[in-house]
């Protein structure tokens, strides 16, 4: 019998392949993400996915935020603040190098912040740096920043992606080949498919990082995202796009489901610089015509908390303004008539995210009920950034504003894509920023929400839920999202 040994060998091989590797934890993780950015530089591009993937992982700031939302040290190991709250002295961590090998020093902090606050900088959160009077390197590892006026959010803002510390040598090429000081360094970006990072062995905390390879897969289509999870191609999908499938994944023992709130306010954005949205009557009519409950049920299958203004319901200063405009078709029609709207077709340009496209279809029907003719255009993300965000070429759009503490968007003036100009709000926002007493500031934040709801700047819809689907054994993801970041240094797969 000659065939027996051959069979035995095959069986042995099959067994060896099938047997689980003993106690060797997996050191690579595939993470699904809905949005693919067009650049990898958080200091020049507002796309949320850049911060999700890279902030805290590849790029680091002077400060960072922990999962409770508290500011903790990162590249600055400690800092002192003068009694008048104007002078900050940061003591930097020593011995840090960028991924390209160049050493990190106070000069890089000065460079990064001077670049970000320059008149012509493309920084998406330039307001962070607006209160800065001067930045100086006291020595190689000490930076002194002097402010014009106290800023309650300064340390928190420095923890955000747009305040990442970059090196002068690589600042221009970070869009395609990002270089930072983080625990993971850039490996490859295959556009339309995936982004790969690998562990940075030179990082000061490298020993405690379990993952060797991080792979982000860009999948915006809910059906494709589901298929990839079911097939085991993905270990995690922290921002899963299909709420209708939560029950299915919850019933599946291979997965854990985590549902939490985010800082993302979903708004029906209106181009305030364009007719008919320049008229407050028309904007208020829209608020009267929108049925949030129906949108949340229809588009999000009940996941999502209604909002009446631009502030997360779990935040300390939240005021419930969802009843500010009752659902009232007659009132909406009357206000539209009062605005003298000519009845033209209005264009709703929607980015390629299911929360937006699905809400859009429902809102289109709701607006049709008060006599408005809305045409939906589902567009690609790059097109949305160019035409809606940069050129303000739209009537309606739907977008989640996922940055924390972003009420300041309404103080950005008419060049921001809202096209909204409101001196009173700019003054209020400046007062909020410079107020150092917590209680007074919370009270002013309440006023700001009421003001925006009064002005009906946009249709305020709901707080975007974070639906995370994780393969059994994947651990270390934050259960809540105080900032729009996805720290991966503590991830483990068992």
């Amino acid at each position: 019998m000659y065939f027996r040994p051959a069979y035995a060998l095959m069986a042995a091989t099959a067994l060896a392949l099938a047997a689980p590797l003993p106690a060797l934890a997996q050191a690579r993780i595939s993470i699904g993400i809905q949005q693919e950015p067009t650049s990898l530089d958080p200091t020049t591009d507002a796309t949320a996915a850049i911060n999700v993937m890279l902030t805290q992982n590849l790029y680091e700031g002077l400060t960072t935020v922990d999962q409770s939302g508290a500011v903790i040290p990162q590249l600055a190991e400690s800092w002192t603040i003068s009694d008048d709250s104007l002078t900050y002295v940061f003591n930097l961590v020593q011995g840090v190098t960028f991924h390209d090998g160049s050493p990190f020093s106070a000069a890089d902090v000065v460079f990064s912040f001077e670049r970000a606050r320059a008149e012509d900088s493309g920084n998406p959160r330039r307001a962070t740096f607006a209160p800065i009077e001067s930045i100086a390197a006291l020595d190689d590892h000490t930076v002194e920043i002097v402010l014009n006026n106290p800023d309650a959010f300064f340390l928190f803002d420095l923890a955000q992606g747009p305040a990442s510390i970059v090196s002068e040598a690589s600042a221009e090429t970070n869009g395609t080949r990002p270089v930072g000081t983080g625990a993971f360094r850039f490996d490859a970006w295959t556009r339309g498919d995936r982004l790969r990072m690998i562990r940075n062995p030179d990082h000061r905390n490298a020993d405690s990082v379990a993952m060797e390879v991080i792979e982000f897969r860009f999948i915006s289509e809910p059906a494709a995202a589901t298929a990839a999870l079911m097939a085991g191609e993905l270990d995690a999908f922290p921002g899963f796009p299909a709420p209708e499938l939560v029950a299915q994944f919850e019933a599946d023992p291979r997965f854990n489901v985590m549902v939490s709130s985010t800082e993302g306010e979903v708004i029906l954005a209106m181009n305030n610089s364009r007719e008919p949205f320049t008229d407050i009557n028309f904007r208020r009519a829209i608020s009267h015509a929108i049925d949030r409950e129906e949108i949340i049920e229809g588009a999000m299958y009940g996941f999502g908390i209604p909002i009446g203004s631009f502030y997360p319901p779990h935040g300390p200063a939240h005021v419930d303004l969802t009843d500010r405009y009752a659902l009232d078709h007659d009132a909406a029609r009357a206000l539209i008539a009062e605005s003298g709207f000519d009845g033209r077709e209005l264009v709703m340009r929607l980015p390629p995210f299911p929360y937006a496209t699905r809400s859009g279809e429902i809102i289109q029907a709701q607006l049709a009920a008060v006599g408005l003719n809305v045409r939906i255009e589902n567009v690609e993300w790059g097109f949305w950034l160019d035409e809606v965000f940069r050129n303000r070429n739209y009537d309606f759009s739907i977008i989640a504003h996922t940055s924390p503490n972003d009420l300041g968007n309404f103080a950005r003036g008419p060049s921001y894509f809202y096209g909204y100009e409101d001196e009173a709000f700019v003054d209020l926002w400046n007062a909020i920023r410079t107020e150092t007493d917590d209680d007074t500031r919370l009270e002013m934040l309440r006023q700001a929400q009421i003001h925006l709801a009064d002005q009906a700047v946009h249709g305020f819809l709901f707080q975007l839920p974070a639906i995370g689907i994780f393969r059994q054994g994947v651990e270390g993801f934050w259960p809540s999202q105080p900032v729009l970041q996805l720290p991966l240094t503590e991830i483990a797969i068992n």
Partner: protein, 281 residues
């Protein structure tokens, strides 16, 4: 004027009859939707979503509480309109080019047919995606893309048939009588290539329905609230386990329409193509 006579066979082929029946069904439903649907196809009642089939909603409601029957009917109309307009435009231009190539011959013919070959090599979906990237997605763009990919198909059929007709005696007679090439093309060639062009048109109709469904599936065709079988399918995808009927009905509609026009085209070819007739005899 001379014509090749198409003899109506005593017994119609089975595929023709089935095809005609299915096409009549789809076209009838599409026409009916112009004057009547059971409900307003766009009316949403979210609290009424995923209703099972009953006396009010004959096939139930979808994920936004819209009546499925009404949507399928209006989608049939959209699909037929897109296919008709696209095939008419693509067919007219294609046949005109084919006739021109055949009438002029020489380098003009070579040029037209080589350009048509390039058109064949161009993937239709890619072309549609390109168009909608430039102009934004809409039904008009879908029609333009489908019409465009039809041009070389008809140009090739028209030229091949026309080249045969040009060799016939009555054409020689017309030339001897001093008629010009374009007059002959119009008066003698065109009527005599009608049969293969109509057969091709019917088959292309099926292709166009499928193409429209594919484009809408990708979000490049009909935009909401205008329903489309393709978009209904794509929206039903994640709901497959929860509400499989949402995918089954539009899928069935596409099958019926495409099968109907394909069989009809096949059947028409069977009775108009003399070579096939001889083989059957």
């Amino acid at each position: 004027m001379a014509r090749l006579v198409v003899r109506w066979p005593a017994r119609l082929p089975v595929n023709l009859m089935i095809g005609a029946l299915l096409v009549a069904l789809v076209v009838g439903v599409a026409a009916l939707s112009l004057i009547w649907t059971p409900h307003d196809h766009a009316a949403m009642t979210i609290r009424n979503r995923f209703q099972p089939a009953d006396g009010v909603y004959w096939l139930g409601t979808d994920q936004l509480g819209r009546d499925i029957v009404s949507q399928l009917m209006v989608a049939a109309r959209n699909s037929m309109t897109v296919a008709l307009v696209a095939v008419l435009i693509g067919g007219s231009i294609g046949v005109a080019l084919g006739l021109l190539a055949s009438a002029l011959g020489g380098w003009v013919e070579d040029l037209i047919m080589r350009v048509a070959d390039i058109g064949f090599a161009f993937p239709a979906l890619l072309f549609a995606i390109m168009l909608s990237a430039v102009f934004g997605p809409s039904l008009t763009i879908a029609v333009a893309a489908i019409a465009f990919i039809n041009i070389p198909v008809f140009a090739r059929v028209a030229r091949a048939s026309a080249n045969q007709v040009w060799t016939r005696d009555f054409v020689a007679a017309a030339r001897a009588a001093g008629h010009g090439r374009f007059a002959i093309s119009r008066d003698h060639i065109l009527p005599n290539i009608a049969a293969p062009v109509i057969v091709q048109g019917t088959i292309e109709f099926a292709v166009a329905i499928l193409a429209e469904a594919a484009l809408s599936y990708l979000g490049l065709g009909a935009q909401p609230p205008s329903p489309s079988w393709g978009r209904m399918l794509s929206e039903a995808q994640t709901l497959m386990f929860m509400a499989p009927h949402l995918a089954i009905y539009p899928g069935l509609c596409i099958v019926i329409a495409v099968l109907g026009f394909s069989l009809l085209g096949d059947g028409l070819r069977d009775i108009t193509d003399p070579r096939l007739k001889r083989r059957r005899a």
